[in-house]
Subunit: 216 residues, 2 copies
Amino acid sequence: MKKQHISDAVVRRLPRYYRYLDELHSRGVVRISSSVLGKRMGVTASQIRQDLSCFGEFGQQGYGYNIMELRAEIGHILGVDEPRRLIIIGAGHLGHALLQNFDFAQGGFRLDTAFDVSEALIGTEINGVEIHSMDELEDYCARNHPAVAVLTVPKAAAQDTAARLVALGVRGLWNFTNVELAVDESVFVENVHFADSLLTLSYRISKNANPEKRWP
Amino acid sequence: MKKQHISDAVVRRLPRYYRYLDELHSRGVVRISSSVLGKRMGVTASQIRQDLSCFGEFGQQGYGYNIMELRAEIGHILGVDEPRRLIIIGAGHLGHALLQNFDFAQGGFRLDTAFDVSEALIGTEINGVEIHSMDELEDYCARNHPAVAVLTVPKAAAQDTAARLVALGVRGLWNFTNVELAVDESVFVENVHFADSLLTLSYRISKNANPEKRWP
């Protein structure tokens, strides 16, 4: 595997490739050319070839990609074959929705447990996961070293909770709080901005442009 | 305003520009150069100038952008100054979280009402919004013509509910169901894929690459 700087744009396309390949695979498709894959995803064939070339050699000139192989390779690049421990901080409605419906394993993680401050929630189970008291967070992290914490706490608690998790050795934060977290540069913060997505929809509707044919 | 095809990549950067300008504005910053703005956002100054040139002339050579003006212009381009009616279909945990915490006005929409099939929810209020029965959907849409519906229903109900909304004249769907909806091309579907975001985090952690300095 080549060692080179991979741009943020390439990194953000990888999960989409993975998702499309997954869907094609589950439909029983075996091979696909970069031009057909590109058409479905709204990117050019050369873009796909260029993106993948950052990671090695894939596909065969004139034969396209073997979907199962490419999917496994991209999954490997994304780290899904070495799932890491993940905890959820905040089991309110959003945390609850993630606990109930989100497939963390597919995202490369093993959901271990969840924490909340609410007495009404502590000790209950959501989808087989027990909700623990935030008072147990230090002990838990010392024993289990979770790699990532999902932040689904109220805005007012976001920065303090993030700092506490970072001090406990968490290396990544999946941040749903809409707060720009100030944490050490060595910690990876992935922000989920619902508003960016809705604004895109607002733009398209107000411009009444034709929706681009894409497999989004 | 120029009439030209605006690429999906440009459209998706607009909400981010809007968000950063909003934050700078709320901090009292008055002007910013494209190079400083670009640095914070992890894009080049020429990218910003090129993106904005799709929509008209902004900023002054050597003086940068007036933040309040540029923010208002981008808001206008995104359609936030003509908020459209939006309804939420499904007031389960995710729907509830959006009702409770999400600022739809900032996303260019006016949250009108929400619908659910659960007898326990119908007639209750979440954050001042009454939950109506799905049986009332036809009547409501005939009277109020909502532009967008948020789909926070279970997977199994996603496609049927989408088809029903489209038949009722809804022009956009904000889709949280993780189902690829088959709807008429004239309808705008904006999919929220949590997994893409988490996979990005998985990649960064498994590669242990330095997080890119960016204002995400």
